[in-house]
């Protein structure tokens, strides 16, 4: 980490942007130079001094770089979109509980991700695809609103070769020869003879997660085999500011990745 990292957990450190890639019209992936120990599913508090700070999932990482995939929908994310290679991004983290990667080892892994929810699972999918995380099989259902909102197009091509990928858009569009329909329709097509080595991950917008998890439960998948990742407003990432509290759970430290047997009982 940078020399600026101190015992004060609120102080960000400076990172240099080494690549900017447009994913869609409003989404982009920034690669910054930083050395951190990260677990897939964790997030950073990303900031631009003068504008503000927000929690952003790690959408991939290497030994000396971290990627964030951001949708420009607010003041901060809009400003970050204007940054160019060579400019600075300020971050602190990583925060939160990531995916229990060890439990996924040698499992039959099913990942359902919707829209920008693909970002937090991307490091995990990459680990499976490149052999770092051995699994028996990987079923990946990636759902997007429409063709124009598909992110990680290059990765999806690679993933298709090494997993059972279902890339689906909500409604048929001209020139689209892939799958259509909501992710729930494709979850319904999955067949499980046994749940013994099954592990399921569901990440996406709140409504999608609600119905996708319900679908798995209808297929009799035990709640303990389902993992979700929550998104909430956060000002600290340290279990202090109170914004992400649900019941007695603080999403920033107890999550964002939570087992569904626990998360199903949380009411905002």
């Amino acid at each position: 980490m940078s020399a600026q990292t101190t015992a004060n957990p609120y102080l960000p450190f400076v990172t240099k942007i080494i690549a900017v890639k447009a994913e869609t019209e409003s989404e982009f992936t920034l690669t910054v130079q930083a050395v951190c120990s990260i677990t897939p599913g964790q997030f950073f508090q990303v900031s631009l001094p003068r504008i503000g700070e927000a929690p952003i999932s790690v959408s991939n990482y290497g030994s000396d770089w971290i990627q964030f995939t951001i949708r420009a929908v607010g003041k901060l994310t809009g400003a970050i979109q204007n940054l160019k290679t060579g400019e600075n991004l300020f971050i602190r983290g990583p925060y939160g509980t990531g995916f229990p990667v060890d439990r996924f080892k040698n499992s039959r892994l099913v990942i359902v991700a919707g829209g920008s929810g693909v970002a937090p699972v991307r490091p995990l999918v990459d680990q499976v695809v490149n052999g770092q995380l051995p699994v028996k099989s990987l079923d990946l259902i990636a759902g997007f609103k429409n063709r124009a909102s598909i992110i990680f197009t290059d990765d999806l091509v690679q993933w298709q070769q090494k997993s059972n990928l279902t890339l689906t858009i909500d409604k048929q569009e001209e020139g689209w020869d892939g799958a259509t329909g909501l992710v729930t329709e494709h979850i319904r097509k999955l067949r499980f003879d046994t749940f013994d080595d099954l592990q399921v991950i569901v990440v996406g917008p709140p409504v999608m997660m609600k119905f996708a998890t319900a679908e798995f439960r209808m297929l009799q998948v035990p709640a303990e085999r389902i993992w979700v990742s929550f998104e909430r407003l956060m000002s600290c990432g340290l279990g202090k500011c109170g914004h992400c509290k649900i019941d007695y759970t603080y999403v920033c430290v107890d999550g964002p990745v939570l087992n569904y047997s626990y998360a199903a009982n949380l009411i905002d």
């Binding site: 004060n8 957990p9 960000p12 503000g52 914004h243 509290k245 603080y250 009982n265 905002d268």
Partner: protein
């Protein structure tokens, strides 16, 4: 071993003057004419220049929490690429004169800022570590107090406990730091502080191990949809409310220089849960009331083993819509009992 003393008013003034040389002494103080309504006074915590300024007849409108968690605090300054932690504006050691409920209230803040998630908040810690509690003995309730029901009417977490009488002060000194000045000026005396043992207002806490899911959407919360105006006064007046948000500001024409501050936030306020992209939670004010109530008397206990609310009743004192939190707790408990039958 604690030692106790009796001091005449004059002797205590000498103690106060002596302590004032080394400490900033803060306590509830009356500000004439500054109350919420015309011709009323405001009682709030402020530095005291003389013990005569200490207000004992009325409850303070605000709690002393801003001594550890100010409404607005600079976290760090930035200039382009560097951040520098904001220093405390002074190095004062502070003696705060406060009642047992507020001592317990600060204990609830300690758990959030110093223990939760095993992270110590450095800004809180540096303010907290310079506080010395002088407990004001509190044997009688003010209006809206329900500290006894919340089990927050007693405390032994003090450097000294004081009973203010007509002709002087009785004191129990627990900290060696303050022993000498009391011993030199006063005479040895048997004194142990007493605590209020009954409030006019009593609450019955829910006796459920787990909140049943249906209570989250119970009709009982609907009243607050229309009554609450989400002004957040209950949050700001509460000694235990600890939520904050961060705000960046920059200086004049500078493109690079500015500071990041944290400012109080509250679960009743609009925008508390808003995320970029339009997702939000708890749009209805009744849901916010439910969220706050559960936090104060249920969620916090699950996490820290003790209830968050200390029953100081300030939320009831300040609500412009006359919402009573103690009533709400009782209604919730009654509803849970009905449901169980």
């Amino acid at each position: 071993m604690n030692k106790s003393f009796k001091l005449s008013s004059e002797q205590f003034k000498t103690v106060f003057a002596g302590l004032s040389e080394h400490y900033c002494i803060v306590g509830p103080k009356r500000f004439a004419g500054l109350g919420r309504f015309s011709d009323t006074d405001l009682i709030r915590y402020a530095p005291l220049t003389s013990i005569d300024e200490l207000e004992l007849a009325e409850k303070s409108c605000f709690s002393p929490k801003d001594l550890v968690f100010p409404p607005d605090e600079t976290l760090f300054y930035f200039n382009g690429q560097q951040f520098s932690e904001a220093a405390l504006p002074d190095n004062l050691e502070i003696i705060v004169l406060l009642r047992p409920c507020d001592i317990n209230g600060i204990d609830r803040l300690d758990r959030m800022f110093m223990k939760n998630a095993d992270v110590i908040d450095p800004y809180y810690q540096r303010r907290r570590s310079r506080l010395h509690f002088f407990m004001i003995e509190c044997r009688e309730s003010f209006e809206n107090c329900f500290c006894v029901s919340m089990n927050a009417n007693r405390s032994d977490n003090y450097a000294a406990a004081l009973r203010f009488g007509k002709d002087g002060v009785e004191a129990e000194v627990a900290s060696d730091k303050f022993l000498e000045t009391f011993a030199v000026n006063g005479s040895v005396f048997e004194f142990k502080p007493e605590f209020v043992s009954e409030n006019q207002i009593k609450v019955e806490l829910p006796k459920v191990e787990t909140m049943p899911p249906e209570i989250f959407t119970d009709k009982l919360w609907e009243e607050y949809d229309s009554r609450c105006i989400s002004c957040g006064r209950c949050n700001t007046s509460c000694v235990t409310c600890s939520c904050f948000t961060t705000r960046d500001l920059f200086y004049g024409d500078s493109r690079t220089c500015g500071e990041r501050r944290r400012v109080w936030d509250g679960c009743h306020l609009d925008g508390f849960c808003d995320m970029a992209g339009g997702h939000t939670f708890r749009k209805n004010k009744g849901e916010r009331m439910r969220f706050k109530t559960f936090h104060k008397i249920y969620d916090y206990r699950k996490r820290f083993g003790v209830d968050m609310c200390v029953g100081c009743g300030r939320c009831d004192d300040v609500c412009p819509e006359y919402i009573s939190f103690s009533n709400c707790i009782n209604k919730l408990s009654a509803r849970l009992k009905e449901g169980a039958e």
